[in-house]
Structure formats: C-alpha cells, structure tokens
C-alpha cells in the first residue's frame, strides 16, 4: 500500500505557479495555516485562490501581495467583522474576484465532482451576482417548465489543502467538527493534500466520532503531519479559536513582521 505521507515543504515545492489553490475550513475555523505559512515562504508568485468561507488564509496572502484572484462566497473575521487586507486588496482592485452565494459555491463543486459543466440553481436569479464581471452564472431557461434559472459553472480546483484532526498514511482523514464544504471540495479537486493534527499508520472505526466525517483515501494524494496546523484558528473539538490573536490581528493591519512572527507561527 502506498504511503502518502510527505513533508509539507516538498508538496509546496511541487506546485506549479499556475495551479489554482483551494483552502478548506471557514472563517476563523480549521484554516490550513501551516500551508499559508509555507506558501508565504515560497518564492513570491501570485496565486489563484478558492475558498468557500475565507478568513486569515486569504487575508494573510493578500497582505503579502500574493493573490491574483479569489473565488469565494465570504471572506471575513466571523463575529469580529471584516478581513482587513482582503479589503485593501479589493478596494485597490489588486485582486480579481469571483463571488458566489454559499449554496451555489457548493453546487459549483458538485458539478466538478459529477464531471458535468454546470448545475442549475435559482439563488442568484435577479440579483447583481448575475451581471458582475467574472460571474460564475449564466442565465438558463428550464427546458421542462420554462422557468428562469441560472447555470453555475463547475469549479475544479487544481489543488485543495484541508486541515483534519487525524489522518493515516494511506490518505484517510477525519474531520471531527463542522465539515463546511470540505468533503465535497475533496471530491471536486484534481489533487487533495491533507494536513493532519495527528498522523497514524492506519485509522480505525473508533477514530471517527459521531460528528466526524471521513475523507476517504481514494481522493487524497498527499498527507502531511502538521500539529498546530490550524494556527490561531480553531480545530473543533480540540483547539478553540484564539480570539486574543484574532483581535490583535485587526489592530496590526499592514504589520508584516507581526503577521510572520505571530499570526503565521501559531500561538503566542
């Protein structure tokens, strides 16, 4: 059986600069922050990023000017408000945006997972999301009822990075808290890299709690052991969000040294 465990640095070095990168997690929860740190340390290239609900992952890379485009339905700081560097990047038109609603982001991944070009939806019909540049939606008349719908194009990330509570060398990974888009993201992406809080040789049934969900090894290309890999974001049910760091971040806007020394190295 193939041992899929690798060093994160080797995985990052193997990325083609043109490949689109998706991050799992949501807001201040289970963000693959050790991946963000490794991307920040790499030679400076501008990245095409994809995230269901973005937070410090998108924001830190935006702070370092490493973002060419972002596909998202949300980027923010949860209860604490807006993402400061993402804001600056959008307000200076430094990044290209593709904006989704939550459901249609999931449907775009669904289409990629099913290998079809689009999924039908009602969500954006009549809203301004339909008409902005880079809109992922095309007006669609239902062939059965004639109803006005929208087609949301398939979204297939080249590489997805997902932080999980526990994984094995075979490539199986378990998310114990809210899964967000991640199980679907794994099925939609060309290549899936799990960073794991803990790595074991082989998972067993008792490693999967009732709230837990398995990302099965057939989707997974690499597994990297990264304890503390969620940085100051949470890893339910083990590590809560460090709201102290999350708040300090908002007072340190533009302080790249602090971002490097504190926000990217984990906890104080």
């Amino acid at each position: 059986v193939t041992d899929k465990s690798s060093a994160l640095r080797d995985v990052i070095d193997s990325l083609d600069p043109a490949e689109s990168i998706a991050f799992g997690g949501a807001g201040l929860t289970r963000k693959p922050m050790s991946v963000v740190a490794a991307l920040r340390n790499r030679e400076p290239v501008s990245l095409d990023l994809i995230t269901f609900l973005g937070g410090p992952d998108i924001d830190i890379l935006a702070a370092f000017g490493r973002v060419r485009s972002v596909a998202f339905s949300y980027v923010g700081w949860d209860v604490l408000g807006l993402a400061p560097h993402f804001r600056q990047a959008r307000e200076s038109a430094a990044v290209k945006a593709t904006e989704y609603s939550e459901r249609t982001f999931l449907l775009a991944l669904r289409a990629a997972a099913e290998r079809v070009p689009f999924m039908p939806t009602r969500s954006p019909v009549g809203t301004d999301l339909m008409t902005v540049p880079n809109s992922p939606y095309t007006p669609l008349q239902c062939p059965i009822t004639g109803q006005l719908l929208a087609a949301v194009s398939a979204l297939q990330p080249d590489v997805a990075f997902i932080h999980v509570n526990i994984a094995d060398r075979l490539g199986n990974g378990v998310i114990c808290g809210d899964t967000y888009a991640d199980p679907l993201l794994a099925r939609a992406s060309r290549r899936v890299v799990l960073t794991a809080e803990r790595l074991v040789d082989r998972l067993s049934k008792c490693d999967i709690p009732s709230q837990g969900r398995l990302i099965n090894r057939s989707w997974v290309t690499d597994v990297c052991e990264e304890p503390g890999g969620a940085g100051f974001t949470s890893l339910p049910p083990e590590i809560p969000t460090d709201f102290g760091v999350a708040r300090e971040y908002l007072r340190r806007v533009g302080d790249l040294d602090w971002l490097t020394d504190v926000a990217l190295t984990g906890r104080r």
Binding site: E91, S101, L106, D128, L129, D178, Q211, P236, P240, F243
Partner: protein, 290 residues
C-alpha cells in the same frame, strides 16, 4: 409581568425571538439573533432545532450558555453533524429561520452585504454575498435585524443587490418566495404589508416617530399616526436571558461600540468555559473507560 428594567439588547432579543417557531433550524448571524433563537426554544418554540452558534457539528444541541467558541459547548449534547448540502436542502424547503443583518436595505427590501460602491473596485469590501441570495430565494419570508438604525443602512437604494425585495426585479424573475416581512432595529419594529409598503409596528421606549423618520431614507406609510410602544420583556424572559442563555453577557458585545476591556473579559470567560467543557468531557470518557 414586567417589573424589572430591561436593557436595549434584552428588549431586542425578545423581539428577535418572535422570528422563530416550529420544527425549523433557528440560527442567528449575530449574537443577539442567536440569543433570540435560544430564547424562543425556551419559551414558545420548543421544537426549534438549534446549532451551537452556527456550527452544523452541533446539530439539535441542548441549550448552553452563549460563548464565542460555541461549537465547543454545543457539541456534547448534539445528536450528530449535519452536512452543508442537507442544510441548504432545508433552506430550499423553507425550514431555516434567520434574521439577516444587511449593511444596506431599501424600502422594497432589497438587501446588500457584499460591497459598498462599485463591485469591481469597491469603496468598502464587505464580507461577500454568503448565504443571503440562497435564503432570499428560498425562505417563505425574510426578516431583517438592523443593530444601528440610520439612513445609510435603511437607504434609498442598495449598491449591490444580494437579496431581492418587492418590485420589478421580483416580477421579472418570477419569484414567489422570500418576501421581505419584518425589520427589528434599535429604534423599533417594522413590517412590509402584502403589497410591499413598509410601515411602523411599534417604537422602542423613548423613540419618537420623528426620530425614526429622520433616520430612514424612505417614508413609512403610517408616519403621520401614533405608534404603540414595543412591549417590555417579562421578568421570566429577563431571567432566562440573564441566567440561562447568556450568563456571561455576550449580548453586550452587540452594542454599537464594544470596548476593549469588554472583549478581554469575554475572551477570558470563553477560554474558561471551553476548558471546563473539555475537562468534563475527559472525565466522562475516563469514567466510561474505567
């Protein structure tokens, strides 16, 4: 009976609780609306399905004190973890209840949480459309919670339409759901009638019709008449808010400008509550093993 003095936040929580009923998911995008859902569960909506804050891993959780890291307290009594695809199937079926908190809302009920100014180069980038278009299409009625009522938020028009209100866009797109219904703000309670005309239902204590008119960019249809005062919370509602659902006082964070000291206090309380929950969980799993 109301004998105790309620704060504005407590009055708002009681009004927000009225947006929740039946066997539906009750969630809040803000601390006060989350507390409204929890209060509803304890009073008139016992069948309501709560999440730990907004975490689907805490599906159908029992009531617990509101904290920042809510999932860590909610998960122990939760039945299982719902996935997001099923959650949006519940949205499509109209089985989710939420108070939307747009940054701009116009008189027709068009709402915006995406950007201020031009989308290509925004004056202010907000958080993105998130679930607003999904909710606005699918839910039977839309309710809005505006923490700071002013004419920039309750605006003549919105810069970017994330959710459709009454009017031409609605007719053109053939929508038969997602009708804007009620607004609760820090000044009062408001509703659109079935033709899409907004009117005042009640004003909070000390608020005048003139103040509301001055702080709204559109006209209320009954601005010339007297409006009743929003009912004060009952002593029982206040007890439930203060002792059961929000003993740590996170409702104070939804005040207009929460001070640093308050945040520091809440972050410390949060840390302790999460640590205690973890200790209890470890002790229980130790007993089970031993």
């Amino acid at each position: 009976m109301a004998t105790q003095q309620a704060t504005l936040e407590e009055l708002i929580i009681c009004q927000l609780s009225l947006g929740y009923s039946g066997e539906n998911i009750g969630v809040g995008a803000t601390i006060l609306s989350d507390l409204g859902a929890r209060l509803a569960k304890l009073t008139h909506a016992p069948e309501l399905i709560l999440l730990g804050g907004t975490s689907l891993a805490a599906w159908d959780t029992a009531l617990h004190p509101k904290v920042l890291n809510d999932e860590f307290l909610g998960v122990d009594s939760a039945l299982w973890g719902l996935d997001w695809t099923e959650q949006f199937d519940m949205v499509a079926a109209g089985r989710l209840q939420i108070w939307l908190s747009p940054v701009q809302l116009d008189q027709h009920g068009n709402s915006n949480i995406s950007v201020l100014g031009d989308w290509l180069k925004p004056r202010v980038q907000l958080v993105g459309s998130r679930g607003l278009p999904d909710d606005a299409w699918a839910l039977p009625r839309l309710n809005f919670f505006i923490r700071k009522h002013n004419a920039r938020t309750l605006n003549e028009s919105v810069d970017f339409v994330c959710g459709i209100g009454y009017g031409e866009r609605r007719t053109r797109s053939g929508m038969v759901t997602g009708y804007p219904h009620r607004i609760v703000s820090d000044l009062g309670v408001f509703e659109w009638d079935e033709t899409g005309v907004p009117r005042v239902i009640s004003l909070h204590p000390g608020v005048s019709m003139d103040e509301v008119s001055a702080k709204t960019a559109w006209e209320w249809s009954n601005a010339d008449s007297e409006a009743p005062t929003t009912p004060a919370p009952t002593d029982e509602q206040l007890r439930l808010i203060r002792e059961v659902i929000d003993p740590y006082g996170l409702r104070r964070l939804d005040g207009a400008n929460a001070r640093d000291e308050l945040w520091d206090e809440i972050i410390e309380v949060d840390r302790q509550a999460v640590a205690e929950a973890a200790e209890k969980r470890n002790a229980e799993s130790g007993e089970a093993l031993g």
